[in-house]
C-alpha cells in the first residue's frame, strides 16, 4: 500500500524535488562565495565555465585516466573477491563469527594510517593505489554479503530441498535471488568507499591522478582548479550513486 503511494508520487515530482535541492545548494554556494570572497572561492557560474574549459584539456584526461585505472583495478578486485569471501563467511558460521568483529574494526579505523605500510610494501605507484582502494572497498562488501547469506530464510532452503534441487539449481534459483538485493547494497557502498580510497591515495605521495591534480592545485593556490575538480568528483560520486541506487530499488521491489 505504502509502496504504491510512493510510486504514484514519483518520478516527476521526485525530479522536481531534486531540482529544488540542487537549486538550494547552488544558492548556498553563491552566498558562501559572497562571504568568503574571490580569493578563497569561485562562484558556481565561474566554476561551471572553468570546468567546461578543463574538460577539453589533455592534462585533465591524462590524470582522469590514471585515476580511472587505479579505481577500476581496486573495484575489480574488491567487487569480485568481496562477495566470494562474504558468501563463504555467510555459509560457514564459525569463520563468519571469527571474522566479523575484525572486519567491523577494520571498517571503522582510519585506514589512511595504514597507507605508509602499503606504500612500503607495494612502492609508490599504481599497485599501492589499487591496494589502498581495495582495502577500503572490500570490507563493506564482505560484511553485507555475509549478512545477506545469513538472512536467507531457512524456509526457502527447505522448499528447495523438498523440490529436490541440485546444489547448482539451489544457488541459481533460490540463494542468489534471495541474497542479491542486500549484496548489491554492499557493492554500492563498496563502490563509493573504493573511490574514496583511490582519491585519498592519490592525494598523498602520488604523481598522477585527479587527487594529485587537486593537491598540485592547492600547492600553487589555483582556486579555480580546486573548485572545478571538487565539483567534478562530487558530481561523479553522486550521479554514480544515484544510478546504483535506482538499480537497488528495483532489486528490492522484485522480492
Amino acid at each position: 500500500m505504502k509502496i504504491e503511494r510512493v510510486a504514484a508520487v514519483s518520478p516527476l515530482s521526485r525530479a522536481g524535488e531534486v531540482a529544488i535541492l540542487v537549486g538550494f545548494l547552488i544558492v548556498a554556494w553563491q552566498l558562501l562565495h559572497y562571504l568568503a570572497g574571490d580569493i578563497a572561492m569561485t562562484t558556481p557560474l565561474q566554476t561551471f565555465r572553468y570546468t567546461a574549459r578543463l574538460l577539453v584539456t589533455q592534462d585533465f584526461w591524462v590524470n582522469a585516466a590514471a585515476s580511472g585505472q587505479a579505481f577500476a583495478g581496486a573495484l575489480a578486485i574488491g567487487l569480485v573477491a568481496g562477495p566470494v569471501i562474504g558468501i563463504l563467511f555467510g555459509f560457514h558460521r564459525l569463520s563468519g563469527e571469527v571474522a566479523e568483529p575484525i572486519l567491523v574494526a577494520l571498517y571503522s579505523i582510519p585506514k589512511v594510517i595504514l597507507y605508509p605500510i602499503i606504500l612500503l610494501v607495494f612502492g609508490l605507484g599504481l599497485a599501492a593505489e589499487v591496494a589502498f582502494g581495495t582495502l577500503h572497498g572490500i570490507v563493506p562488501v564482505m560484511l553485507f554479503t555475509m549478512n545477506a547469506v545469513r538472512n536467507i530464510k531457512p524456509v526457502l532452503v527447505r522448499t528447495g530441498r523438498a523440490l529436490g534441487l541440485s546444489t547448482f539449481a539451489m544457488m541459481r534459483t533460490i540463494l542468489l535471488p534471495a541474497a542479491l538485493p542486500e549484496i548489491f547494497t554492499g557493492l554500492r557502498i563498496g563502490f563509493s568507499v573504493t573511490l574514496l580510497g583511490t582519491i585519498m591515495s592519490e592525494m598523498f605521495g602520488s604523481k598522477r591522478g585527479l587527487g594529485f591534480l587537486l593537491m598540485q592545485a592547492l600547492g600553487v593556490n589555483d582556486v579555480q582548479m580546486i573548485m572545478a575538480l571538487t565539483l567534478m568528483l562530487v558530481a561523479f560520486a553522486s550521479i554514480a550513486n544515484a544510478i546504483l541506487m535506482s538499480f537497488e530499488r528495483q532489486l528490492y521491489r522484485r522480492t
Binding site: P110, L119, M200, L218, L233
Partner: protein
C-alpha cells in the same frame, strides 16, 4: 544454548588466529624475510609505542588530534541531533533533503580538504571541519530514524496524561529513540577520527596523522609503526567499548 557456545568458541579461535598472525610476522621480520625497511617486528612496535610516551612532540600531536576530534564530535552531535529533529518536524524539508542524505556518504569528503585549506588557512580548522562534516550527517540520519520509529501510542499517551512538550520529549521520546541516538553517536565518533586523522595525514602541520606521514617521509620506521599502533589501539578500544555498551543497551530492552 548452542549459539552461546559458538560465540565463545569464535572468540577463542579469533584470539588464536591473531596470535598466530603476529607470531608469523615477528618471525618473518626477525629472519629478514620481511626487510626492516618495510616493517619492524611487532615486538619492537610495542617497544616503540611505549617509548612514545616520553616523546614530547608525539604527545603534543596526540593532544592536538584528540582536541580536534573532540571539537568536531561535539559540534557534530549537537548539530546532527538538531538537524534530525528539524527534518522530523518538517516532512517537506525531509523529502527534499532525502537525496542529499542518501548520497552524502558516497562523496569522498576529503576532496573538500584543499578548498577548506584555502578558506581557513593551513591550521587546525580545516581538519576539524572535515571531521565535523564526516560525523554530522550520520548523527542526523540516526536521530531521524529513531524519531520516526517512536510508536504513535507514545504520543497518544503523552496527550492523555497532559504532558508538556518538554516532559513528552524527556520521558517518552528520548528514551524510546535512545538506542538510535547511541548508534548515531557511535558512528560519529569513528567518523570524526577518520576525518581528522585522514586530513592530518594528507597535509597539515601537526597531529598524529601528520606524525605518521612525517615519519614515513623521513624513514623513521620505529616512530612510524609506534604511532600507527598507538592510533589503532586508541580507536579500536573506543569502538569496542561503544560496541559492548550498545549491546547492553539493546539487551536491556529485549533486543530490537
Amino acid at each position: 544454548m548452542k549459539h552461546g557456545f559458538g560465540i565463545r568458541e569464535a572468540t577463542l579461535v579469533r584470539a588464536a588466529l591473531l596470535a598466530v598472525l603476529v607470531a608469523v610476522l615477528e618471525i618473518a621480520c626477525r629472519t629478514g624475510l620481511i626487510q626492516r625497511f618495510t616493517m619492524i617486528p611487532p615486538s619492537e612496535m610495542v617497544v616503540s609505542l611505549v617509548r612514545l610516551f616520553q616523546n614530547r612532540d608525539v604527545l603534543a600531536d596526540a593532544g592536538q588530534t584528540l582536541l580536534s576530534v573532540f571539537i568536531a564530535l561535539a559540534c557534530a552531535l549537537v548539530a546532527g541531533f538538531a538537524m534530525g529533529v528539524a527534518l522530523y518536524a518538517f516532512p517537506r524539508a525531509r523529502r527534499i533533503a532525502d537525496p542529499l542524505l542518501t548520497t552524502y556518504y558516497s562523496v569522498p569528503v576529503f576532496v573538500f580538504y584543499p578548498l577548506l585549506i584555502v578558506l581557513f588557512g593551513l591550521n587546525a580548522i580545516p581538519k576539524t571541519v572535515i571531521g565535523f562534516l564526516y560525523a554530522v550527517v550520520v548523527m542526523a540520519i540516526n536521530t531521524l530514524n529513531g524519531l520516526e520509529r517512536v510508536p504513535f501510542v507514545y504520543w497518544k499517551t503523552a496527550q492523555v496524561h497532559h504532558l508538556s512538550r518538554m516532559q513528552t520529549a524527556l520521558h517518552l521520546i528520548l528514551p524510546c529513540a535512545g538506542p538510535y541516538l547511541f548508534t548515531g553517536a557511535k558512528f560519529a565518533i569513528a567518523y570524526a577520527f577518520v576525518g581528522v586523522i585522514g586530513s592530518e595525514f594528507i597535509l597539515s602541520t601537526g597531529g598524529l596523522g601528520y606524525r605518521v606521514s612525517f615519519a614515513y617521509n623521513n624513514f623513521q620506521s620505529d616512530v612510524m609503526y609506534g604511532v600507527i599502533l598507538f592510533v589503532l589501539v586508541i580507536v579500536v578500544c573506543i569502538n569496542m567499548a561503544l560496541y559492548a555498551w550498545e549491546r547492553v543497551l539493546m539487551e536491556r530492552r529485549g533486543g530490537r
